[in-house]
């Protein structure tokens, strides 16, 4: 075996979740909602993949579809999501249930609503543990207490007997993280884990997640529309727009050298310390209903040319790890540029 092949082998082992040509469509009476249109993503052990994009661009649907939670609502999911040689999208409901919470855990957006007000924190915990492991109540109680301690909550024994409304949002989010950690998942999907929290709590939660990444070598998909959070946490960033990945790059490259006009506009719209008016991206994202051919960002783009209206979204390799989906970087356009120069 040559060295390149060995390297590839190792690479493959480190990739814990591999999304290939992943699509999610919802047929409705008014047409097909194309929420996710063929995205490719790899989640690597011990690394954080940041997924950014504005509301309604398909981030959450991607997360939920991975665990088969959208199928029952009529979504059509196409493509592959490979994990340990299994395609998650082809599993039956019992098989996928075994994976939920055990191999793939999700931290949800709104911790206040994610707990049943009528059951104690302890019961929420035990429910997850006992859905996956056949352990005694006492053993699972000890496990729960241990993990509650891990996320820095004081007096875990006491907390176990309390109800969700006795907790603050930050505490509940930490409980949710603790529950997610209890099964030592290989992949952790954090769907905007800090959106409903204030900044101090946000910092603590992110610290917790970073430590988890270091300690448990969990592969993480961090969904957010907060670029600050992404810059702080992610190793690699994928920018999503209208169900397409429009740019993918290691975090420093993306922030230093954004290629796609959308990414540039997104970065320009970040609040700055100087008292300049905020740079907004003009217009609105097009409806996901019956998306037209051509670049979905066309109408809002300030770098468009005539080629864009029939450009078919696909990622172009710009350099080693930097991919971008924009007509500007297509081979022919580059050739044109060079020819003119």
């Amino acid at each position: 075996m040559n060295s390149a092949k060995v390297e590839k082998e190792i690479m493959n082992k480190q990739v814990v979740l591999n999304l290939k040509n992943f699509q999610a469509h919802l047929p409705t009476k008014r047409g097909v909602v194309r929420a996710v249109n063929g995205i490719n993503l790899q989640i690597t052990q011990g690394k954080v993949l940041g997924l950014v994009g504005e509301s309604g661009c398909g981030k959450s649907i991607t997360c939920l579809s991975l665990l088969g939670l959208t199928k029952e609502k009529g979504w059509v999911i196409v493509g592959k999501a490979q994990m340990q040689g299994k395609n998650l999208l082809a599993l039956d409901s019992e098989e996928i249930r075994r994976i939920r919470g055990k191999d793939i855990a999700i931290i949800m957006q709104n911790p206040m609503a994610a707990f049943n007000p009528l059951t104690t924190i302890g019961q929420h915990f035990l429910e997850t543990i006992r859905s996956h492991l056949s352990v005694s109540e006492k053993a699972s109680r000890e496990m729960a207490t241990k993990y509650l301690g891990h996320v820095g909550l004081p007096q875990p024994d006491k907390l176990m007997k309390q109800y969700p409304f006795q907790f603050s949002g930050g505490m509940l989010q930490r409980v949710m993280i603790a529950i997610a950690l209890a099964m030592e998942p290989k992949v952790l999907i954090a769907d905007e884990p800090t959106t409903s929290l204030d900044v101090t709590i946000q910092r603590q939660i992110l610290g917790q997640l970073a430590r988890l990444k270091e300690k448990a070598r969990t592969g993480m998909l961090l969904v957010s529309h907060d670029l600050g959070v992404i810059a702080q946490m992610a190793d690699e960033v994928a920018v999503m727009y209208c169900g397409y990945i429009v740019e993918r790059a290691p975090v420093e490259q993306l922030f230093n050298n954004p290629l796609h006009p959308y990414t540039r506009a997104l970065l320009a719209s970040k609040p700055q310390m100087q008292k300049k008016p905020l740079q907004a991206i003009g217009g609105q994202a097009p409806s996901l209903l019956n998306l037209d051919v051509g670049c979905p960002f066309l109408e809002r783009c300030n770098e468009k040319n005539r080629r864009c209206s029939h450009y078919k979204q696909k990622l172009i390799q710009y350099d080693h790890k930097h991919w971008v989906g924009c007509a500007k970087y297509s081979a022919e356009q580059r050739m044109l540029n060079h020819g003119l120069a």
Binding site: R100, G101, K102, M108, N116, T128, S131
Partner: protein, 277 residues
Amino acid sequence: MVLQGIAKGLYHRKLTIISLIILGVIMLSGALAPVLAPNDPTLISLENKFLSPSIQFPFGTDHLGRCILSRLMYGAITSLGSALVVMSVTITISIIMGTLSGYMGGRVDAFLMRLCDMILAFPNLVLTLVIVGMLGPSLINVIIAMVVVQWVWYARIIRGMVLSLKERSFVLSAKVTGTPDWLIIVRHILPNIIPHIVVLATLNLGMVILHISGLSFLGLGVQPPTPEWGAMLNDAKQFLRSDPRLIMFPGTMILLVVISFNLLGDALRDAIEFRES
């Protein structure tokens, strides 16, 4: 404002306690009737008929010389007991059907709901009468008929609650952690609907008692000589002018029980609404 609130609370609580006491006394006297009842409720002695209240017959006797108090006490078991049976069977069936229908959706839901629609298409009383008429008059058949007619109402209500509950975030997050469906139903869905169902059941218990008594009054339910309040009303109606006492005692009992159950249901509902607001 505050004082008014407290006064209102106390007033409600007082009524609740009174209705609890009334129900307690009636149920207890029913349960202890074999010990406490002064006379045999079915013993007919024509020489004692239409007696006024006395020490031997505290409420007097009816047209067949039977002790009214004893009949009321024994009748409490039949009236209240059968109402409780109807209610608990109805609720059990409708919880199962409603939860299945709401949670599973799709064809199961469509089938069960069309079944409900079919039953709901007929007037309540008519359908009960038809079923009892087909099965033959007896207490058991009245209970069966009432369950058949009533479960659909509760099943629809429960289905509605399940439909909205299953979209709540905590159900999604339970799913995300790999909780099996049956556990989600037992842990997250049922505990959230049962308080409402208890209220509903308590409020409607009075109505069930009225229904059973009504059917007995029509001669379809409890058969003589078994003492039952509705049947006693039926017996007494021919003596309405000559001896209204006969109709007053069982009538008052039904009135008291129905009002007590309604008040109790109201109080329970207030308690739950207060907790949820």
